[in-house]
């Protein structure tokens, strides 16, 4: 238990690798297939511990995905990774053939999501990975926000009878959850209750969402906050009950406003229980070099903007 309490002190890529090691020690037949980013994404740790389960294919992401597919066909549980840009948009056809066409249970990690690609710039920032992954039938999509959520996401993914895409924040991030946190694919949770509007957030945008909710409380607005780490399958029951109870939704994601969490909520709500939905996220715009903070401020991925959008949604609700 002591070890778990100290989890948020570690870099999340370290937590990723340690969780894989844990799973092998528990008897899961995991293999790690990398494309020259083991050191970047943390699995060099795994390679040292289980060299016989570690494959590095060099800078060849397409090969990485299809090799993982072959290993999955033989009963292994392959975890592959690259930056979200290269584990996502670069290899969509390879993912389609392995996952959608063939139902092979590969697990794909896309690191440095959205603004956390930072000074690597737009080529290394994935703002569209969830949109692409969501559009692939039979690919689950997870966006964990802290070390506890990540550890749970990896454990769930290993046990899940299907392919899973997980966004990986690589560095140290403050804890939102605790050692008892439980994540289930297809489930979200209410992390703060309220009744006038709902903020639905995932991953990196969880803390701004909670900040925004606190600000709104001070302004006399009672806001529910939903954590939705499982962007696909979406926790439709939780989203619809929030729509019914609160009548206004604002989504917040470290991702484009096109195709991700916000889009998933709109798709559901528009057809089942239409309420105003405002989306906070990257507008339809290329990323750029900058710290995560700078990019958030420039493109509106802030608590401030979430608050603003809640007020707009409340206005629309009144009309």
């Amino acid at each position: 238990m002591n070890k778990l309490e100290r989890l948020p002190e570690k870099e999340m890529r370290c937590v990723y690798a340690e969780t894989l090691i844990e799973l092998v020690e528990e008897g899961r037949d995991i293999v790690v297939v990398e494309a020259d980013l083991a050191r970047t994404n943390g699995t060099d740790l795994f390679a040292r511990r289980f060299p016989e389960r570690f494959i590095d294919l060099g800078v060849a992401e397409a090969n990485m995905i299809s090799v993982a597919a072959g290993m999955a066909a033989m009963g292994k549980i392959p975890f592959t990774s690259s930056f979200g840009s290269f584990a996502g948009r670069r290899v969509v056809d390879q993912l389609f053939m392995a996952v959608t066409y063939s139902h092979l249970k590969i697990k794909v990690i896309g690191s440095d999501p959205g603004v956390t690609g930072g000074i690597n710039g737009a080529s290394h920032q994935a703002f569209e990975d969830m949109a692409l992954m969501r559009a692939l039938p039979d690919m689950a999509v997870l966006d964990p926000g802290d070390a506890y959520e990540l550890r749970q996401a990896v454990r769930e993914a290993a046990a899940y009878p299907g392919a899973v895409y997980i966004r990986l924040l690589r560095k140290i991030h403050p804890a939102v959850f605790g050692p008892d946190y439980c994540l289930k694919i297809g489930k979200g949770s209410i992390i703060k209750d309220g009744h006038e509007a709902t903020i639905i957030a995932s991953g990196y945008m969880l803390r701004p969402a909670l900040e925004a909710a606190a600000t709104l409380e001070k302004q006399g607005v009672s806001v529910r906050v939903l954590n939705m780490p499982s962007v696909k399958p979406l926790d439709t029951q939780l989203v619809l009950s929030a729509a019914r109870r609160t009548g206004a939704i604002v989504t917040a994601e470290n991702h484009s406003v096109i195709g991700g969490l916000g889009a998933a909520v709109c798709e559901l709500v528009a057809g089942e229980y239409p309420v105003p939905v405002r989306r906070v996220g990257m507008p339809d715009h290329c990323g750029e070099v900058g710290t995560a903070d700078f990019l958030c401020r420039k493109f509106g991925l802030t608590a401030e903007n979430i608050v603003r959008q809640v007020h707009i949604a409340l206005e629309m609700k009144r009309d």
Binding site: V31, A62, M71, A73, M74, S102
Partner: protein, 276 residues
Amino acid sequence: MTEKEIKGLGEVSRSVRELIVEMMVEAGSGHLGGSLSIVEILVVLYHKFMRLREGEPDWPERDRFVLSKGHAGPALYAVLQTKGYLSRNDLMTLNKAETILPSHCDMTRTPGVDMFGGSLGMGLSAAVGMALAAGMDKKDIRVFFIIGDGESDEGQIWEAAMAASKYRLGNLVGFLDGNKMQIDGTVDKVMPLEPLKDKWLSFGWDVREIDGHNVEEISGALKRAIECGDKPSMIIAHTVKGKGLSFSENILTSHNMKLTPGHLAQALKELRASRK
């Protein structure tokens, strides 16, 4: 190989060609050229070399086969029928609605198909993954494959080639179906590949070159390739697109063509005549 064995494999090859044409006439069209060019290779693999279990297409310890040039699915299906994994009725459902036999290999639908196909350039990578997994588990499982020459334009083929060599995958053995044609023209015209043998050698593979329609040469090459335990093996098979029939041999448009009952009658006539 004995005369009897050679004759026997020749007979099976003839049956397979008949079945391919029958299937495609029933479906109305098909990837005839690239299916006919790999018949002997498939027949020798499935009838002489692959360690399989009758009636158990999912036997976990079986040797695996990857048809990376997945559009030649019908050739594989015909051979699977000769092994009893599919029925003649199954074959007649090629490309019909809700079929278990789509044009391009689907491992979720067809008993006996070990890996997907259809998007070119990926099957070899999958074969590498399968060979790696078998090696990790210290299992005596071989992974065979066929890639196309046109398919070799895909960069991913070479990513897989490098990986197979790095990992010394002696249990990975396969063929390049060198029928010298692709869709827009001959391979030489569209994207020349020579020197092909040199390329595979420089990638660290054990390489052989054969007549891809000669069952003895196919068999000899496979035997020696299998014995080569510390390198992956590539057998460059010189083949003829559309081999065996006058209306398809060396004809570019045989890649994907419409087929009528007239074609079937012609095919049966020619295949029976070739029996002597």
